[in-house]
Symmetry: C2
Subunit: 357 residues, 2 copies
């Protein structure tokens, strides 16, 4: 089997969100921590394709600071990246994917995956990729859509129009995160999926669209790549060149503007683990609805998330709380308010600053 | 001024309660930790008399394991104990006080104080001691009573009968911790005080009563004392002798049985800090009723106790919670349930044990 038929996974590990603070933080992003006790999210993402027939070794695009932990975590699960591209600065997903796309043969199929989502049923993803492959080989841009089971306001949505081959649909439009009323309407009317941020397309198709719709991104990436430092499998794009790339998402730069975009609906137990609430929902739960992990116990407590990578945490007689501890920090917040984590971080940073007179 | 006229403070520091876990624990009792940021409770207790006219340097009775921290904490506030008596095992307050009483001249007045209570108005205590002194010099046993301001069920009570000199009253009876209904009744009828566990009496009066009502305690203490090891101001009672002492409180062994017992009512901002709820009540509070101390902040939270001697703790959007962190442990419990701390400790100990099949 010649390599050209292999699908090239591209794992995007450049995010640095703090929504799972204190476990994740700027210097240790979510994808590099273990949320389930069954490997880090990066490791779980890598193992979705590594060792599976039909996939090449992944290209990983990560922040320069994360080079060592990424390499080490991949090694721990026996994965050797075909390239580890270390971004000197973050320039969003269009540029990150372009860094990978310019490294491969033009007709290579890229399977682009965020590194910080959980997928419970990997087989379902594989089936969807197989179903999507023929369209991608005809230069369609394919995105994978998750069937909504609730009126979620935290995700982008995709609406579909006519059916295509293999159970895919032409995309009618991409929609931003809706308000609650709109989300409820879309859920009721059907034909909408969540945008999971997973894509399958040819490198050449992507780069052609980028040259039309975001030429400054492509130019910056080509400059950064041609002047890159290469050490083994590590690739360090030229910092000054890459910094010139506009910061734009692949959705905005390419997917929303491309003429032939398909969505492959897939039920794969997907969650973006974008809040402690989502981590609680993932479980596993004890008989009282608590998700307890690490050095922690819950006594006479209900529907709590209690986890510690640091001191022994005891939740006693509490309901609907998120309690997360590391050696440095402890967060206590009601389960319905976990999206407020940034307020906690802001408050801590304000405390560190000299106070005004 | 001859020394015999000085009142001899006796500080009881042998307690090892875990009601303020995780800050206090068996190996670091409550009196040795700082609850207010203004010294440890032991230090605050020592400074109630040290440096004040009319008082000798204190005798401190502590657990053998606490010898070094007790000595160090006293030195930090410039107090040199006249004796540091280190109990090889705990044998309750009758024996602890007896260890001190046999060390002093018989007619010495002892002011016995627990080391783990807070007294906000020290002047009021001094005034009460001055008022009580004449009766104590006539061999009355004097206890100090705190006027109740709520139907507290956590303390013992004292009822008074006829008025004596100096604003004191003869004690009618000592009562165990009442149920809620009884406590409410006593509060309504008046004439009842809380038993604060602070006493003023002559050493000889105490020892005479002990010889009548608890001779085994006295005998064990005399044996332990005569065979004690003495190193500087440290006194280590003989372990085997002392272990033979029955474990009984000074209330049960002496105060409840003595013929001439007086109570000196005193309003001195007293609290026994016997629960996290009491520590919260002590404050200080921010504008939203939170008592926040150490490496901790409360954001959009109300009526919480949040304190850390370890990791940075953030309480975000929570009400009526107690959150206490040390480098080892974190407790999260509702404010109304802080008396359940023992359940947390039990649960942790159960986890450490091998599980039954």
């Amino acid at each position: 089997v010649p390599d050209a038929t292999l699908i090239q996974p591209v794992i995007l590990s450049g995010g640095s969100g703090t929504r799972l603070w204190p476990l994740s933080r700027r210097s240790r992003p979510k994808q590099l921590v273990s949320l389930s006790g069954d490997g880090t999210l990066l490791q779980r993402t890598a193992l979705r394709t590594a060792g599976h027939e039909g996939f090449a070794s992944p290209i990983v695009v990560a922040a320069a600071d994360d080079g060592d932990p990424v390499e080490q975590q991949l090694a721990e699960v026996g994965v050797q990246a075909s390239a580890l591209i270390l971004e000197p600065v973050g320039r969003n997903t269009a540029a990150a994917i372009a860094l990978a796309a310019v490294e491969v043969a033009p007709d290579t199929l890229l399977l682009v995956m965020p590194s910080d989502h959980e997928i419970g049923q990997v087989d379902a993803l594989h089936d969807a990729v197989s179903a999507a492959k023929p369209l991608a080989e005809q230069d369609w841009m394919v995105t994978f859509g998750v069937e909504p089971d609730r009126p979620e306001t935290g995700y982008g949505y995709i609406s579909r129009s006519e059916a295509l081959a293999g159970g895919l649909f032409r995309v009618a439009r991409f929609a931003e995160k809706p308000d609650a009323e709109t989300a409820a309407k879309w859920l009721a009317e059907g034909g909408w999926c969540w945008n999971a941020g997973i894509f399958l397309f040819r490198a050449s198709a992507f780069l052609d669209l980028l040259s039309i719709h975001a030429p400054a991104v492509l130019q910056a990436v080509r400059n950064a790549s041609s002047r890159a430092e290469r050490i083994g499998s590590r690739l360090l794009p030229d910092a000054e060149s890459f910094a010139a790339a506009p910061s734009v998402s692949v959705d905005k730069a390419v997917m929303e503007l491309a003429p032939r975009v398909a969505v492959a609906p897939v039920e794969m137990g997907w969650t973006d683990l974008g809040s402690w609430e989502a981590v609680h929902a993932l479980g596993p739960h004890d008989a009282w609805g608590n998700a307890v992990s690490g050095n922690a116990i819950a006594v006479d407590s209900r529907d709590c998330l209690v986890r510690s990578d640091g001191p022994t945490v005891v939740a006693l007689g509490v309901d609907d709380l998120v309690i997360v501890a590391t050696e440095r920090s402890v967060l206590v917040v009601p389960r319905g308010q976990t999206q407020r984590v940034k307020e906690a971080i802001d408050a801590l940073e304000a405390r560190k600053k000299p106070q005004p007179d």
